[in-house]
Assembly symmetry: C2
Homo-oligomer: 210 residues x 2
DNA sequence: GTTTCAATGTAACAAAAGTTACCTACTAGA
DNA sequence: TCTAGTAGGTAACTTTTGTTACATTGAAAC
C-alpha cells in the first residue's frame, strides 16, 4: 500500500502530515481473510491494529470456551483494548477476528506514547476510539442486562446488517448461538418466531432482514 | 485540603512535582455523602472526579428506570468514562454515586489535554485508568453473560466486601435486587440458599460474609 | 406496650431459556 | 445417483428466573 492510499484512509481524522508520514514509515499493512484470528486472549501484542477496510469482530471468552459478542470494528476504527494492553504491556482480555476479508494497518506499540505526546490530532483520535469502544461495551451490557433473548437476537441481526452493509446474513444458527452464548435450539426457535412476525426470511446458511 | 495532603494521595502515581502543583492549583476537593449522585446519565460534566477517599458506585441505566451495577471506584481511581466524555464534550452514559462518604478531587477538564501532552506520568495514569475500567466492564460482562443469578449474587457480595473492606454488608434485599436488575423475591430466595450453604449470615438490613 | 411500616419469608404459579432427542432437508462429493 | 454430513425443525421436558400474593418479623415512633 502506498502513502497516498493510506492517506486516503486517514483523511477523516485530520492528522498532521508529519504524523501521517510517521504512521506510513513505521507501520505496515496486513491483509487478513474472513475468520482469521488477529488478537487472542492472553496474547501479548506488540502492535495496534487500525482497521482500514473490512470488519473485525470482537468477542469475550470465558474459561469453558463460551463466548459473547461485544462489537464490530469497521474501517477507521482501532482496537482501544489493544492500546491499553500495549501501553502497559498487559495481556489482551478479548479476542478479535476478521468477520470479512479485511485490511489492517499495524502500528508498532513503541511509537504510541510519543505520538500521543506530540500530536494533538492523535490524542483526539485515541481518546475518541476509547469513547466509542466504551459506548459499544455499554450497548453490549444493555443487551445482556435489560433485554430478553428474542430482542437480543433481533438487535444482533440488525447490528450485523449495519456493519456488513448487507441485508443478507450468512451465518448458521449454531454460529449465532455461539456469539450470543445460548444454544442452537433456542436460536432456531426465536428465528422461526421472527420469521412468523415477517421480520426476516430464512434459508439454509442465510437470513434475510426484511 | 492542603497540598501535602493531596500529595500523599497522589504519591503512588509518581507524578512530577510540577504536575502535582498544577493539580493542586487548578482543582479542588469536594466531600460527598453516602448516596449522593455525582454523575448523572446525559449530564455534561465540566470536571473529572478523582477519588481520594471512599467509594463511588458506577451503574448503567436503561430508559425504564432499570439499573445494573458496573463497578466501584476506590481511592486513587478516576472515572475513565468522565474523561472520554469530557475530552470530546459528549454526554455521560453512566451514573456514579457515593457508596460511602467520600472525598473527591475535581479537575477542570480544560487542563487534561495539556497535561497529557506535557507529563508522561499523567499519560500513564490516564491510560492505566482506562485499562482498569475496561477490565472491570469486562468482569461485569462476564457476570451477566456467563453466570447464573446465584453466582452473580455471591460475586456481588464479595466485590462489595472487597471495596468496603468490611465483612458486613448493609443493604436490603430490595437494593441488591435493583443493582443486579432482578426482583427482591429472587434475591431473598438466593440469599436464603447462600445462608443454608453457610456462606453468609443474615439479619435485618445486614448480610455477613463468612 | 401498641401501632405502624419496612424488611424479609414463602408458596404457587408463569414465563423464559436451556436440554435432549430425534426428525427432515439440503448439499457436496464419491 | 447415492451417501454422508451439516443445517435446521420440533416436541417434550427441566431448570432458572420472574411474578403475585400474602404472611411474618423487627425496629422505631407513639
Amino acid at each position: 500500500m502506498d502513502k497516498s492510499e493510506l492517506n486516503n484512509h486517514l483523511l477523516k481524522y485530520g492528522f498532521e502530515p508529519a504524523l501521517v508520514q510517521e504512521i506510513y514509515d513505521n507501520g505496515r499493512s496486513k491483509k487478513v481473510v474472513a475468520g482469521e484470528v488477529i488478537v487472542k486472549p492472553g496474547q501479548n501484542n506488540n502492535y495496534v491494529p487500525l482497521v482500514l477496510d473490512g470488519v473485525l469482530k470482537v468477542t469475550r471468552h470465558d474459561d469453558d470456551g463460551s463466548e459473547i459478542f461485544l462489537y464490530y470494528l469497521e474501517g477507521g476504527d482501532t482496537c482501544a483494548m489493544s492500546i491499553s494492553c500495549c501501553l502497559d504491556n498487559s495481556k489482551s482480555q478479548i479476542s478479535a477476528s476478521a468477520e470479512e476479508d479485511s485490511t489492517i494497518w499495524m502500528i508498532p506499540i513503541e511509537y504510541l506514547d510519543s505520538w500521543i505526546a506530540k500530536y494533538q490530532s492523535f490524542r483526539r483520535f485515541i481518546f475518541n476510539s476509547y469513547r466509542e469502544r466504551f459506548d459499544e461495551m455499554l450497548l453490549a451490557i444493555d443487551s445482556m442486562a435489560f433485554m430478553k433473548m428474542d430482542e437480543r437476537l433481533y438487535k444482533y441481526l440488525l447490528d450485523k446488517k449495519q456493519s456488513s452493509g448487507s441485508f443478507e446474513i450468512k451465518k448458521t444458527h449454531e454460529q449465532i448461538a455461539k456469539e450470543l452464548n445460548t444454544s442452537r435450539v433456542v436460536i432456531s426457535r426465536l428465528l422461526k418466531q421472527l420469521e412468523n412476525e415477517e421480520k426476516i426470511e430464512q434459508s439454509r446458511n442465510k437470513i434475510e432482514i426484511l
